[in-house]
Symmetry: C2
Subunit: 347 residues, 2 copies
C-alpha cells in the first residue's frame, strides 16, 4: 500500500456515489488509483477527485482488474451482476445496496457495532440500510451496558434516500404548491410501484414496496438487519417507515426496553455522550435536540429527547437523527473500508 | 329552540374559529342568533355566516347574555377569564383550549368515545387536544371489544396546529429555501419559547414547552387526556410529538397492546370499518393508506397500515390521520354542541 490502494466507485454519479467521493477526500483515504464506474449512459463524463478530473467508465467485469476495494452504490441488480465479478478479480466489495445484506455468508457491518464481523468476509461486505445504521449505532452502547429486549421505531425519512430524482420531485412540487399550480407525482413513494403521491407538504407511510405481512420492505430491512448486525435473532423489533418532505437527514422516534432495570436517564445520556460516532444533543431546557436540518453534511449520529417511559422502568424514548447519505450510506461504506485497512484485511 | 339557538364563537378570526363557522354552516347547526367575539383588535371586522355579514364584537363578560352555547378558541387565558363569566350568564361553554381539560369538574369529550360524560357538566365542556382526539376516536372501538393495555404514539403534526402565523412561516420559509435566500425563524416550534427553528424541509421534535420530566406539554396532554377521556387512569400511554412541514393534517404512528390475545388484523379492520367517525383506508397491495394531503377538509379520522406486531400477539401497529382543524378542533367542538342538543342538555 506504499502508493495507496486502487479504489473503484460503482455508481459514481448518484447521490450516494458523489458523497462517497467527497468522504474519501475528506478522510484522506489512501487512494493510489481511482476508477469511477457507471452505466453506459454516464460513461465518458468526468468527475473531480482531489483536484483532478477522472473520466467515468462503463462498469464491466474486467473493470475490476487490479482493484483493491470496490464501493458499490448503483442499485441491487448492478451489485448482483458485478460484485461477484469484482471479487473474482481480487477486489473486496463494500456494497451499499440490499442485494447481499441478508446473505449469511456476507457480513453486514456498522463499524461502531460489529467491526469484527469483517474478519469473516468472503469478498463482499454489505452496508446496511440507512435507517438501520443510525439506529443500531445509537443503541449498541445501551445493548452492551444494559442488554436490549425490544425496539419500536417510527421513522421520519428524507427523500434523498430515494435518489436525486426524488429530491428534484420534492423541490418542484413544493414550488408548484406554493404557486398554486398543478403537478403530477411521478417518483415517490417508490419509482417502480403502481401509484405515486404528493410528497411536498405531506407524509407518505410507505418506503419501498409492501410485503404480504403488511410491512414494507424498508420496515422489514430495519427489523431483520438490526437483528443480524447486533447478533440478536431474539431481539424484538418493529418499524413504521414514513417518507417526509425533507431533502436530507433521517429522524427516528425510538422506544426501547432494556434487560436491566433501574437505569437512569442520566446514565443513558452519559453512555451515549462517550460512545463512538454519537453526538448527544439533549438539553430540553435550552431546546437542544437533533433535527435533520442541522445534521446535513455531518458524519455523526445525533441523539436527544432521551426520557424514561412513565410506565415501564426498563423503557426509554429517544430521537435519533443522521445524514442518510453519509452515516446512512457513503460514510459507513468508507468507514468499513477504513476498518478493512485497520484490521489488516486490505493491505 | 323553535327559532334556533344563540351561539357565540370566541376567537372567530383564528384558524380554528373560521373552521367552526364553516362547520356550523355545513352541519346546518340550528343557529338562531350568532355572536362573533374576539379581542379588541379584531372588533368591528365582519365575517360571513350563511350568506350574511356578522360584525365581530370585543369579548366581555356581558357579551354572553342570552347565549345558549359558546364555542371558545381564543387561547387559554381568554378561556380562563371569560368562560366562567359565560357560564354565570347561562351559557354552556365548549372550550377548545387546554385551560380546563384536566379539571375534574369539567368533562373532556370526544363524542364517539365518551358522549355520556356531557351529562355531568358544570357549564364548561373541554375539547381535547387535536392529536389526542383522532387517536382516541380510532382506539375506542378496540378498547371496547378487546381491552387496551398500552399505547405508544409518535406524531407527525401539521403547522396549522400552531395557528395562522405558523402556516405563513412554513410557506415563506419554503419559498426562501427554494430561492436559496436567507430567513429568520420567528414562530415555530413555540412562539413564546426562547429559540425558533427552521420548519420548512425539517422536522422539529418539540411541540409546546418542555416539562421537568423531559416530555413536552403536548406529549403530556396526549398521555393525560387519553386516560381521562377513556376513563382509564391505569392505561399505559407514551407520546413523542414532532412538528412537520405539513400545513394541515396530523398523522400518528401508533403501537398498541390489547388485553385480549388472538385478535386478527382482519377483525381489527372490520371493527374500524364500522366504527363511527372512522374511515378505514388500508389496502397495501393497492397502496391505499391515509395521508395528511388527502384528509384536509374532511371530518373523519382515517386509519390504515394496520398490522400485527411480529413478536407480540397482542400488539398492533397502525397509522392514524385526520384534519387537525376539524376533528382535532372545530368539528369536535360543533359535534359536542350537537350532542348537547341530542341529549337534551341544551334545549
Amino acid at each position: 500500500m506504499a502508493n495507496g490502494l486502487h479504489v473503484a466507485v460503482v455508481g459514481a454519479t448518484g447521490a450516494v456515489g458523489q458523497q462517497m467521493l467527497k468522504t474519501l477526500e475528506e478522510r484522506q483515504f489512501p487512494v493510489g488509483q481511482l476508477t469511477l464506474l457507471s452505466s453506459a449512459r454516464s460513461a465518458g463524463k468526468t468527475l473531480q477527485f482531489n483536484g483532478k478530473e477522472v473520466v467515468i467508465q462503463e462498469a464491466t467485469p474486467d473493470s475490476f482488474k487490479g482493484v483493491d476495494i470496490a464501493l458499490f452504490s448503483a442499485g441491487g441488480s448492478i451489485s448482483k451482476a458485478l460484485a461477484p465479478e469484482a471479487v473474482k478479480r481480487g477486489a473486496i466489495v463494500v456494497d451499499n445496496t440490499s442485494a447481499f445484506r441478508m446473505d449469511e455468508n456476507v457480513p453486514l457491518v456498522v463499524p461502531e457495532v460489529n467491526e469484527e464481523d469483517l474478519k469473516a468476509h468472503n469478498g463482499i461486505i454489505a452496508n446496511p440500510n440507512c435507517s438501520t445504521i443510525q439506529m443500531v449505532a445509537a443503541l449498541e452502547p445501551l445493548r452492551q451496558s444494559y442488554g436490549l429486549k425490544k425496539v419500536l421505531v417510527s421513522t421520519y425519512q428524507a427523500v434523498s434516500g430515494a435518489g436525486a430524482a426524488a429530491i428534484n420531485e420534492l423541490k418542484e412540487q413544493s414550488q408548484a404548491i406554493l404557486d398554486e399550480k398543478e403537478f403530477t407525482p411521478e417518483i415517490l413513494p417508490v419509482g417502480s410501484d403502481k401509484k405515486h403521491y404528493q410528497i411536498a407538504f405531506n407524509a407518505i407511510p410507505q418506503i419501498d414496496k409492501f410485503q404480504d405481512n403488511g410491512f414494507t420492505f424498508e420496515e422489514m430491512k430495519m427489523i431483520n438487519e438490526t437483528k443480524k448486525i447486533m447478533h440478536m435473532p431474539e431481539l424484538q423489533v418493529a418499524a413504521t417507515c414514513v417518507r417526509l418532505p425533507v431533502v436530507t437527514g433521517h429522524s427516528e422516534s425510538v422506544y426501547i426496553e432494556l434487560e436491566q432495570s433501574g437505569v437512569t436517564v442520566q446514565e443513558v445520556k452519559q453512555l451515549l455522550a462517550q460512545a463512538p460516532g454519537i453526538v448527544l444533543q439533549d438539553d430540553p431546557e435550552n431546546q437542544v435536540y437533533p433535527m435533520p436540518a442541522d445534521c446535513v453534511g455531518k458524519r455523526d449520529v445525533f441523539v436527544g429527547r432521551i426520557r424514561k417511559d412513565l410506565d415501564n422502568d426498563k423503557g426509554f424514548h429517544m430521537w435519533i437523527v443522521s445524514d442518510n447519505l453519509l452515516k446512512g450510506a457513503a460514510w459507513n461504506s468508507v468507514q468499513i473500508a477504513e476498518s478493512l485497512i485497520k484490521l489488516g484485511i486490505v493491505k
